[in-house]
Symmetry: C2
Subunit: 370 residues, 2 copies
């Protein structure tokens, strides 16, 4: 098996197992235990495999700089601070998000084994990578998995110019019998900052209905965030149901913060080293919320999974529109990416490779492409 | 207190307490027990009070005709068919939805008292009125309430012309200390059939991004549902995040149907007597899903509610956009309606009054406006 090959398109292709080992080494050198470093590497590589590089290894530099600035704790004691048969509150001790996320989701699954469902509200955490990873941890236990997080404020409530909400993703994974599982993993805002930045780089305009300018007026400027504008909620304006998106994003914010004691909305601490920590805090760190629902707490798992297969077959056979793709089942695109990138390797663009190797050098680790 | 007054605008103003008594009598005459009839009346009048007349007393005629056609059971034995400490599955015995809904939500609350959270999947039910009512039942117990339901298919999955999903609402009610509670109650589609019908009646066009024609192309025809078109998911097309709305509506469908054993998506039985029951069934009746989360299963309730007050104050003070309303907190508009209509009475339009009195006559009850 070839491990690292420099190929076409100026990107570096890296085998995902080796990439995970390499990232693990970097986080060990930052002071993490092997288990913790593996959790972080696991989440970053999972994002790459599933085709979400914005939550992949490009985050290593941010994480490293946050650690170097003592804004993230690499020797955490993540602990349960409150619990009932079906719930727990977890304090992440300001650890790297993936460590706290895996701890919390495992706990939700353990609770569900006994009480039918398990729900964990987590505070004092940081950026936890792709929401979908945690929800999918439930699948092998014949459970539905749920994961959500708040995030840095970029999104405006309906009728406002105040960026008070994050793009706050929700992920829900549902087990099936013979088909691949249903895995919905989506930001509750219509577009992410990264995609807007890419449009700007390409000289494209943003479609109307995604963002507004500093006065709250519709704009097609993909750079509007830089000029005081904001991302609209899912739906866009009120005429198109944007107030429903505002409800949804707010719910993710409240479940992820107020329930467990993390900072809400505008007070979520930045996850990049070049932005200062807000003066005011209303909780501890960034927050998440996790759920695990044992299928057989409602009906026999096999019966449920066979009906989920029918659901999937029904929707896969929905009539398609001429010139458009066939109907997809949530999770299809990410699964196809995972199959492809597991075989072909993960492509790392030059800028990310340079960043990674800079971090490696500071930590006394050999560069990735040698 | 004046009870029934015929006033301006050709509408009949009715005191809500008396309206509830009147509706209770109608459902008693249909064969319901007094308690069951009161549950139905409670839900229909709550919808009127909160300014959602599409789920109010205009449904009496549909409900009556469904009962008269033996498509709804007025002597049900609603029962728990499976349970764990934090979950239950309820069979509604094909009762009127509000009876099944109140039974299920009460059970979720009882479960939460013991296990921290309570979750109920309900099958074999019918149209249950406003989702928000059930979620608000949790508030007095210092719990978060959750309620969702599937509904008749009018909504198309992304890339499809097949109307396979309902407008599937979600309601989440969150307790507060001094401010009114946060109550989000929203259909997961950007527009309801009723609003489209109203646009058509007024000769208005629908904004682009809400509906599509029979070929799956964008249209502004508010009558498109009649011509084979469909309602888009929240977000609209893929460029505007409509696939995220598809995920959301699908999740509500699966939680409301596959978990408890009700019919999913295209197989949800119609809730009006003039549409036939589908040939194929994949479960029993229409389904709902309910949740109750005890706040002090995560942190002291008082502490949580004080932070929720802060959340609300923060968002109420968000900068507003010139010429637009101030930022609202989910639940504001419905609460204002409730305050107003509790005092001023509920206005019933002539067509609904005629329908009500026709039903009353058939049941041997005096008409409403005498």
């Amino acid at each position: 098996m070839v491990i690292f090959v420099l190929t076409k398109n100026k990107t570096t292709m890296v085998n995902h197992v080796k990439l995970k080992q390499y990232i693990t080494t970097l986080f060990e050198r930052m002071g993490c235990s092997t288990t913790d470093a593996e959790s972080v590497a696991e989440l970053l590589v999972a994002a790459e495999l599933r085709g979400i590089p914005s939550h992949g290894v490009m985050r290593v530099k941010d994480y490293y700089q946050m650690v170097a600035a003592n804004r993230i704790n690499t020797k955490p004691t993540v602990k349960v601070v409150h619990e009932t048969p079906s719930t727990a509150t977890v304090d992440g001790d300001n650890a790297l998000g993936p460590i706290v996320g895996k701890f919390s989701m495992k706990l939700a699954i353990e609770k569900a084994k006994v009480a039918g469902t398990g729900w964990v509200a987590t505070r004092n955490s940081n950026h936890y990578g792709i929401a979908g990873y945690y929800s999918m941890m439930a699948l092998e236990h014949d459970m539905i998995g749920i994961s959500m997080t708040n995030a840095n404020p970029l999104v405006v409530p309906t009728f406002s110019t105040s960026k008070f909400l994050g793009t706050n993703p929700i992920a829900i994974a549902i087990p099936t019998e013979k088909h691949p599982p249903f895995v919905a993993d989506f930001a509750t805002a219509p577009i992410a900052r990264g995609k807007l930045a890419l449009m700007a780089k390409k000289g494209q305009k943003a479609p109307i209905g995604l963002v507004q300018d500093e006065n709250g007026h519709p704009t097609n400027d993909p750079d509007t965030l830089v000029h005081g504008g904001g991302i609209l909620t899912l739906g866009g304006d009120v005429e198109h149901g944007g107030h429903k998106g505002y409800c949804l994003t707010s719910i993710v914010d409240i479940f992820s913060s107020v329930l467990g004691g993390a900072n809400f909305g505008p007070f979520v601490p930045p996850q990049v080293p070049y932005l200062p920590i807000p003066d005011k805090k209303v909780g501890d760190g960034l927050g998440h919320f996790f759920g695990a629902i044992r299928i057989d707490a409602f009906r026999p798992a096999k019966e449920f999974k066979l009906i989920m297969d029918k659901w999937i077959e029904t929707f896969r056979n929905a009539s398609s529109i001429e010139g458009q793709p066939n109907v997809m089942i949530p999770g299809d695109p990410e699964r196809k990416n995972e199959e492809k990138f597991s075989k072909e390797g993960i492509s790392i663009i030059p800028q990310v490779l340079t960043d990674l190797n800079e971090v490696a050098q500071k930590l006394g680790v050999e560069p990735l492409n040698q």
